[in-house]
Symmetry: C2
Subunit: 657 residues, 2 copies
């Protein structure tokens, strides 16, 4: 079957570029704050084919010129210039189709006696032919990869009321839609979009607002995030089209606690709104692709959509292009999370082909990192680096513990990916390098007196944070004792400053769950997300403090409505409930083997599904029994320490009492 | 004075890109055949300023976001978002203006209390702030660098006649113009542009032709090259606007031989048509930027326009961007000519600032070359390399002599440029490397028996061509004896296959002139270019064979009209007459010192001007006396081996008999 093809990475480079140029802030577009990579303007597509002869047709985004090499000598070339219907004689020839496209990016669709598909190669005229990029989204000749194929559905406001000099439309919940206003007069109209009512009514501080003159009584806006729309013309009428990626909700979770069910639903909707061309951070403000946010989205996706394509697109876009001269999103840890994320992708889908396609870019990134190592192998801040880890006080003097842990882990992942792609000896080198770094981290950052990890060994302050210890717990080869110490001396220690962001709660909750701390997950979900919903949230916020009231909830970064009220990283309950309550976890590559370890936590019963490559796993549990259905083999159900092999296509029932 | 500013190189990258996407061939656009480099989509402009306070205004190509750093700490930043009128308080601050532009390239113009100019820096968010690019062409706020500022002048056809089913317009001479047709019917119209009458009348083989339906009786075309336009509608009327770069003809040459004067004029017009955004090869077919063609244009420009800006633009565009992965224009020798060309530029203008700006790209190119050296230091063919030198048979087995000569010279030039930019020790390294390579070339390619250079020492064939020996003469540190041998045993040896391209005639004629071979230059000009004009040429052809007749003159590359009838490399008489008849030659950097060595050749008298930085040098000579006027000091007039110092602003007269 013919497909649209492009030079690998260019589809993502192009859509990443336009995506990052769409931010609106206080009436103006707001350019992105990190390095962007433009698509290649000219690409050659190539394939050696053997045919009985016949015509092929070229459909292109761009200008084309085709040549057919009929023999090994330079002069055995037939040139067809810009012709797009080309007659091949019987035999074996090499087709080269050169395409220029300065507006979007070069891509082609070939049908007839030969067809474009993943067996073609592409080169940006630098003599590095590599397998092309393709996507299941682009198999229709009429739907070019220049336009991202979102779905659209009309939505209606649930309330319209007079407000100020105009009207306020309420769409009932957070959405992402293209709005058309009509019945407008001919004067300039102010339009404020708001995630909250207050935001929509604030002319100055609504993040997305426009002041424009209607044309023939109408104004239209590109899709953006809102629940409320204020229009300064009281005769205004509005219609809206919800724009979304049609992803199937393959994962599910229900229990007897309706609040937890509501959180799960809100998390799923929040995550869906943020799952578009790529995994976005939030749907209103940045709408950008942040590497560590995307890393967490990999885990949520695995328990909700298991959409492999969005993971590939996101990882490809984040990797950028050569020359790679600055950390992803400018943040050191985010570069490392990207590398770990590629390994997570491989682990989930076992997709060696993608690993081979993205490895050249990883090589660039690793070379960049290695060029910035201190002589001891640690990564210290250089001009332009943002040493982030989290919004939290940390002792960042000298080498920061968390960065070293993530760097070592990233190198280990790189080594494993190289080995998966058959670069055995280089892979082994990086595994060894990671091991050396692990050892050095243990030596320098593990405080033998405190028996936990310290942020900085160079400052002499020996300060202990949850962050360094959570990262050590999750990414370092810690001993059982070290893990227990971390859990008891740091995580359960109220004197150690609490995590305040849902971003890092994701990791902390993993630790709780890994430690088997029975009821903390439900408690945390109820307290944090449950109370968020009780303030009227329809999607999950970037950050939330139960002690705040009213519009306090909407403020962030020093501005009254800059908080994102629909933020992907808050969708972690989907992952946590799937992985630690339904308990389905991949244990090898691509669920070749997997565990099911149902854990009721403080619930009495639950049922739910986890999508897996090739099907799904359904888990139903109550205080008496556990029922598991799986479409695929390789599963092991663990109940009270006992293993039960899970046959495919059959229900397994285990009594627990 | 405020100017438009951009990240250095991006203006050229953008215009180079659109220029290379404009080729038309047999009714279709024809994409370029070498690697193109896209502009950076997002750039930060930065300057530290001290002001008494006041407003500044930002005019941008793209979306902007401005921040003002008021102190050394990260939080001492005022963010102005997309505001373009910004109030500064008195004091010292660092302004950062971030600009995104996905359609063209980011650039800004700032006026008010601060102004944008060459003192600003730019960075593509990779933390490499470098001085911005500017141009004298863009000092007007209303004229953005997105549009190249050509001049336009209406031109009229000199004849209109019925031809076939339509009409043929004759504009009297080769031109480059935008044509608008009107009084057309509503049926599809065929329009053929032709450099020759025959081409315009050939529906199949006219290189630039269109078949389109008129809109309201009209059709318009982007500027292209032609003398004739055929329109298949006999009611058609045409108007045309000549598009050109308004360059002053500062050089001149007149003598008593009207044919030579006509050749000079045709060469000047030919060269002017090809001097646009950059130096082009020819104005009809490719309209691309070829490095070695451009290299020769540097010399012609020096004796006609002395336009520094077009040299900078051309060299910048050719250098491409990182990652540099393939030879310029795919041709190994063209990469070397680019490097030598940058040195030529420095030699002519003494512009250290430009050298410093282009050195990072040269570094990339040199690293690319060094990565491809064989273990002996020679450059041998790698996949994708075009080993060109000239359209001529040559023994290209193993290392080719000409490539090694040019590589050594290019490294020497790189070393000298590094030293000019104060990178003394690295510069010295490259000078030494060049010396080592020169020595190795002498050792391997100089045939002691034949006493000249051979193409290949690896094939065992010891074949001798003009090419290798001309390049050795011009670029190697040959001894006097070696030069004399080359001249006598190769250049004057009719048994050695002749040069057939004006491209390489440029170098061969230099050798003749350097050997002081009295009348050859005039003879060659009359025979080759003079007879070209006598066949009706109004501009100088890419190639010319006096033995051909009729339309044979127009054929090339296997197609009947693919020859370029207006080709820059044929303008060399301007350089040769200026440098070796008027005899004005720069002898240090930027004409700090220069020689005037008038040589009548086989002429009785001539007068002419050569532009120099800061003025011009006028030379009038006949068989009795030489008169020289110079605006600048540093000149030495050489007559019969005797030196006469040339005072500035005064005429010097020397009797020769």
């Amino acid at each position: 079957m013919a497909k649209w093809i492009w030079k690998f990475g260019e589809f993502e480079a192009y859509h990443n570029l336009i995506l990052h140029d769409r931010r609106q802030q206080y009436g103006c577009p707001e350019p992105v704050v990190w390095k962007m990579y433009a698509p290649e303007p000219v690409v050659i597509f190539q394939k050696k084919v053997t045919t009985p002869g016949g015509i092929f047709h070229i459909h292109a985004c761009g200008h084309v010129s085709t040549s057919v090499q009929t023999g090994p000598n330079p002069w055995e070339v037939k040139k067809f210039g810009g012709k797009t219907d080309i007659l091949l004689e019987a035999g074996t020839v090499t087709i080269q189709i050169r395409v220029s496209n300065l507006k979007t990016f070069p891509s082609i669709y070939v049908d007839g006696v030969i067809e474009s598909d993943e067996s073609w190669e592409a080169d940006d005229l630098s003599m590095h032919f590599e397998p092309v990029g393709v996507s299941d989204l682009f198999v229709d000749r009429e739907k070019t990869p220049e336009i991202f194929p979102f779905s659209y559905r009309p939505i209606s406001y649930i309330n319209k009321e007079k407000a100020g000099k105009g009207v306020l439309f309420d769409y009932g919940k957070e959405t992402f839609a293209a709005v058309r206003l009509y019945h407008l007069g001919d004067k300039k109209v102010r339009v404020n979009f708001g995630e909250s009512r207050e935001e929509a009514l604030d002319d100055e501080w609504s993040v997305i607002h426009f002041v424009q003159e209607p044309k023939e009584g109408e104004l239209s806006y590109p899709p953006c995030a809102f629940r409320y729309v204020y229009v300064s013309d009281e005769k205004a009428e509005a219609e809206a089209k919800y724009e979304y990626l049609p992803l199937a909700y393959r994962g599910s979770f229900q229990c007897e606690d309706e609040l937890i069910n509501r959180v799960w639903d809100a998390a799923a909707y929040t995550f869906h709104l943020n799952s578009r061309e790529f995994f976005l951070d939030g749907i209103k403000r940045d709408r950008w692709v942040w590497s560590a946010d995307a890393y967490q989205s990999l885990f949520v996706n695995r328990y909700l959509f298991l959409d492999q394509e969005i993971e590939k697109r996101t990882l490809t876009a984040l990797g950028g292009k050569a020359p790679f001269k600055r950390h992803i999103n400018t943040i050191m840890d985010y570069t490392f999370f990207w590398m770990i994320g590629v390994k997570e992708y491989y682990q989930t889908y076992g997709d060696r082909k993608f690993v081979r396609q993205i490895l050249p870019q990883m090589k660039e990134v690793v070379a960049f990192c290695e060029g910035r190592e201190s002589s001891d192998g640690f990564m210290r801040e250089k001009p332009g680096d943002w040493i982030f880890i989290d919004w939290a006080p940390m002792d960042k003097e000298g080498a920061l513990c968390g960065e070293q842990i993530l760097y070592a882990k990233a190198l280990e992942c790189y080594g494993e990916l190289l080995k998966a792609a058959q670069s055995l000896s280089i892979g082994e080198e990086y595994l060894q390098k990671a091991q050396r770094l692990y050892k050095l981290i243990m030596e320098k950052f593990y405080d033998k007196e405190k028996e936990v990890f310290i942020d900085s060994y160079e400052s002499g302050r020996r300060s202990v944070t949850r962050h360094s210890n959570i990262l050590a717990y999750l990414f370092l080869p810690c001993s059982k004792k070290q893990k227990k110490d971390i859990y008891e001396k740091v995580i359960l220690n109220e004197e150690v400053r609490q995590i305040t962001t849902p971003y890092f709660k994701f990791y902390e909750n993993q630790v709780h769950c890994l430690e088997g701390n029975g009821t903390l997950l439900e408690e945390s979900i109820r307290q944090y997300y449950g109370s968020m919903l009780e303030t009227g949230a329809t999607t999950l916020y970037e950050e939330y403090d139960p002690d705040m009231t009213g519009t306090e909830h909407y403020a962030m970064y020093g501005n009254p409505y800059e908080k994102s009220l629909c933020h992907a990283w808050s969708a972690s309950p989907i992952y946590l409930l799937g992985a630690f309550r339904l308990g389905v976890q991949n244990t090898r590559v691509a669920y070749e083997t997997f565990d099911v370890r149902p854990d009721l936590g403080d619930l009495k019963s639950f049922s739910g599904k986890v999508p897996v490559p090739g099907g799904e796993v359904e888990v139903i549990a109550n205080e008496k029994e556990i029922r598991v259905w799986t479409d695929i083999s390789g599963g092991t159900l663990w109940v009270n320490g006992k293993a039960h092999r899970l046959p495919a296509g059959k229900e397994t029932v285990v009594k627990t009492r």
